[in-house]
Symmetry: C3
Subunit: 250 residues, 3 copies
């Protein structure tokens, strides 16, 4: 199986599908092609949340604002998974979620028809070849081991008995603001209220626990604290966006 992720929208993902289908019988499964354009940080967050739900696969990831520059073309072995994409940090959080000991390799020689669409000309062919090789990457002459690769790190919150100082990592398509505060912080407040930057807000296990249009604090499917509005957009209601600092206080 080869999964495909990009920020291409349409129609460019289809060219990658064609390139892979021309070189491999691998099953193709889309993650999404609607990652925010050039947003390596948000894409890395979602890939970390989603790829571990897949069976062993080759994961093609093309969020590549540096296309055509000298950034390396990576393949990272992470357990039985292999992630393929640019060396800009987008792969590493997912690789670390998949394995305690991911190993990075770079493509020795980049030959591309274009300087602007390495998804089609470099990454998709590499993903197809890796799928067909069925060999550990350290046995493949086309790849060389990398000691250091670009990393993205998500900030840690500061948590005391009284409060949690955290950050909005991403806003999802529903408008939920996903923070870096672990859901456990809410464990004893469930069913009660908590302060969000001074605003007393119900803490609930489900969106439907409050009335339509009402704000709530919950634990999202990623295990983190999430600022939400039932049938509405939490980020707008709490006036936050990616990167906003937030304080939860008991």
């Amino acid at each position: 199986m080869i999964t495909l992720s990009s920020d291409f929208g349409w129609p460019y993902p289809a060219a990658m599908r064609g390139v892979i289908a021309s070189r491999s019988d691998a099953r193709l499964v889309d993650i999404t092609h609607d990652f925010p354009r050039g947003d390596v940080y948000t894409s890395a967050f979602w890939l970390r949340e989603i790829l571990p739900w897949f069976p062993p696969s080759v994961h093609l990831v093309v969020i590549d604002p540096g296309v055509g520059t000298d950034r390396a073309v990576l393949a990272i072995e992470a357990g039985e998974h292999i992630l393929v994409g640019p060396d800009n940090g987008v792969l590493l959080p997912a690789a670390k979620a998949l394995s305690d000991d991911p190993r990075a390799f770079a493509l020795e020689s980049i030959e591309a028809e274009s300087s602007t669409f390495h998804g089609r000309d470099v990454f998709a062919p590499l993903a197809a070849r890796i799928h067909e090789w069925e060999a550990p990457l350290d046995t493949v002459p086309e790849m060389r081991s990398m000691d250091a690769v670009a990393e993205i790190e998500f900030p840690d919150p500061t948590i005391t008995d009284e409060d949690a100082l955290g950050e909005v990592l991403v806003v999802d398509g529903f408008g939920n603001a996903i923070t870096n505060v672990p859901g456990e912080f809410l464990a004893e407040q469930m069913g009660e209220h908590i302060g969000v930057d001074g605003r007393s807000t119900p803490v609930a296990r489900t969106y439907a626990a409050v009335d339509t249009g009402e704000p709530l604090v919950t634990v999202g499917s990623h295990g983190n604290v999430e600022l939400a509005v039932r049938d509405g957009r939490g980020a707008a209601a709490f006036e936050v966006e990616k990167g906003s600092s937030i304080r939860l206080h008991r």
Copy 2:
């Protein structure tokens, strides 16, 4: 085959794909993940129109504004199809279109990692298991028979020789307003004009029968009367939306 429907947009559908692919070799086919957020009624309409075109399948449907509440987790046998989703009415119109005698079952025990993403944690695993069981649901200990489930009913029009009092059921992505008036009402007016809330409008078999930008009344692919504009948005031109009353008069 397992089909997937949701209102998740991106990237959450990918987690469901991964969960299923981890547990089953079933072919995955997306219906759409762009159903209007939380709109059980509109989703039920489209599923009724679309699922009958599929060969026997397990249909995973996650339009679930009540996620995490005590609404049941359903599997409905409808002929050779099985629909899996929440007990909020979204499954039943399609189930009735697929079979005169659909039979509903509920999952006995709901064990979920999250309270906010049962698509990933409950419904997708259940769809995969049903696909693998290949057994009638009344022989499966994990499921219990349900006598009553939530229903959505689409309103009937009132039709006389002179007029039809109906309702806009949904507006499609093209902006066509799809009513509950059967297309037969137009049979004798084809090529002529009909009144729509007092406005004389051409009745045509095809959008291209009128000039670009002109309104028309036609019979949509669902067999119902549709208010449209060639290369434009009928709902805007006729000033209607989901739930609007309309009167067609000869």
Copy 3:
């Protein structure tokens, strides 16, 4: 393999997937269903760019503003590929890119349940049947040879030593304005500046060669000159749209 292309958005493509899956075990691969509504010209451009990356396939293409009229229902043999769609020009540029000698056939008899959704009722069943026939179309009684079909031609630029008078063919989802001027026109200016309608603009191989928000002229993955902005929308910055005339001058 059957590829699917349309301007349907959601949920109509799913009905086509169901129809095909009911009649064929062919693998289904989406090109996109987000082609601009009714825009045969733009769709034809992208299909010409993308379909040649696929292995031999049946390509179902439903951009069909004349649905239900007497336009022919085509299948075009182009090498080992077969394109299926309406006779409005949308298929021909891709067919010519796939073969020097494409051969067009029309479906003898069109029997459709609807007049408004031939994608579901005519084109998808035909694509499935062609996939199953595995026979040259001139041996199939259901098809008749066509001498002339609708064509779309993309305009040629006028190029001198000093300048190129061209046109914006399409704007992609990133906002890049893709022109009809061949990339070779930039060969000697690479790394320098060129005039775009009087505005001196850097010429670069990659978007990342200029600062964020800065305009550039580059060679896109299609081989043509492209007006772009790093991490922004070139069409907006250069105030052009599909069909705009542009002049590049050294």
